[in-house]
């Protein structure tokens, strides 16, 4: 399946406009492989035919699915263990101390993919911070991709997914087998509010956040978009609140109003005190 350059440029612009995801020149192959399933399902004979259909109509469901097909949703339970160790050892104990007057904590997983990240956090809270069961903990998880978002809401994971990074004691404690898949318990599921948020568009009204998880998503955006998103995060973080990035990500040279928190080996940031 060959993708003419004009069609690649069309898809690249569509994806850029709607998700801020940057497809580099060499990514023709990615577009071809990701859009293959849409061709099949919709009965288009070629990518050119699909792109022609996109061009001839205003933005609708087909465009949305093309954009979402170009998101990368790779994730796993407890991805980057040091990050979760730091939540356990430092962040949640710190928040429990600092928020003990109004007893409220707000968390946002801003690119939650199929849910492994917010569920890992929820299991940590349930396991290690029983005191929070009497607090108001608002835990919002969001993504652009409707398919992964709905999978996250269902809380159903394949055997391969629960094999990856999930400690077996937590599997036993919080999951039930459902056919060949594994369903997370309603108790954990109800701790999280899932919603559709496009990081590159206007954000809904969020409560002041104690922790924003923005892991492994900024890498897909250009510097201007990263800068604008980090600026918006600063405005919704509560004073002393944490920004958590992916293990290879940084605010350095993008937004110098953030500073790295001095926990060893983890990409946690806070807004500098002025």
């Amino acid at each position: 399946m060959m993708l003419p350059n004009a069609d690649f440029e069309y898809v690249r612009k569509l994806v850029r406009d709607r998700s801020a995801i940057v497809l580099d020149d060499g990514k023709t192959y990615l577009v071809e492989s990701r859009l293959g399933p849409i061709l099949q399902r919709e009965g288009f004979a070629s990518l050119t035919e699909l792109v022609a259909a996109l061009r001839s109509a205003p933005y609708h469901d087909l465009h949305r699915r093309v954009v979402e097909a170009l998101t990368t949703n790779e994730t796993s339970f407890f991805r980057d263990m040091p990050t979760f160790d730091a939540l356990n050892l430092h962040v949640f104990p710190d928040l429990i101390q600092r928020r003990s007057v109004d007893r409220q904590i707000n968390l946002w997983c801003a690119a939650s993919s199929s849910g492994q990240e917010p569920y890992s956090i929820a299991m940590i809270l349930r396991e290690n911070f029983p005191i929070l069961s009497t607090w108001v903990v608002r835990h919002i998880a969001s993504d652009l991709n409707m398919d992964v978002l709905s999978k996250a809401k269902d809380g159903v994971f394949s055997q391969l997914e629960v094999n990856r990074g999930l400690p077996a004691p937590l599997l036993v404690k919080y999951f039930k087998k459902r056919g060949v898949d594994w369903q997370i318990s309603d108790d954990i599921r109800r701790m999280i509010h899932f919603s559709h948020v496009n990081l590159a568009a206007d954000w809904p009204q969020f409560p002041p956040m104690d922790v924003v998880f923005m892991r492994n998503v900024l890498i897909y955006f250009d510097v201007a978009t990263k800068r604008s998103i980090l600026g918006k995060i600063r405005r919704i973080l509560r004073p002393g609140g944490y920004l958590v990035l992916g293990s290879a990500e940084t605010t350095l040279n993008i937004d110098d109003k953030f500073e790295r928190v001095a926990f060893p080996r983890v990409p946690f940031y806070r807004v500098k005190k002025t």
Binding site: S76, L160, N163, G165, A168, P169, K176
Partner: protein, 123 residues
């Protein structure tokens, strides 16, 4: 670091041996629980055992029980690697003293991540 790979399938033993060797383990193989206990009696404790469930002679579950009852093998980490995928099986293995549980089929990443959960290997 030393690991013992216990499986009645030679093919699976070879796959696990290759993965573990690549991670930096010295690997010993055993073809069932009995064979494994015999080898451990000679060479002493290893860091981790990767344990199949269904094997003739002494199966993986019985092996775990035997290891946990043997003070000379104290501290050895036990990771089931098995095609038993029911919740009750996972729960039973953990209750008997297994530390982790991998359901076949697995990838190298799965093994690496599970070892990291046990605090062994590189993470």
């Amino acid at each position: 670091m030393r690991a013992i790979v216990i499986d009645d399938s030679e093919a699976i033993r070879r796959i696990l041996r290759n993965m573990m060797t690549a991670i930096g383990f010295e690997v010993i193989e055993a073809k069932n629980g009995r064979d494994a206990l015999d080898r451990l009696a000679t060479i002493g404790c290893v860091d981790v055992a990767l344990v199949d469930w269904n094997m003739p002679d002494l199966n993986g579950y019985e092996f775990v029980v035997a290891v946990r009852a043997d003070p000379t093998l104290n501290g050895m980490r036990l990771m089931m690697v098995t095609s038993e995928t029911e919740l009750q099986s996972v729960a039973a293995a953990l209750n008997a003293g297994a530390d982790e549980y991998v359901m076949k089929p697995f990838t190298k990443d799965v093994i690496l991540e599970k070892l990291a959960l046990l605090g062994i290997g590189q993470s």
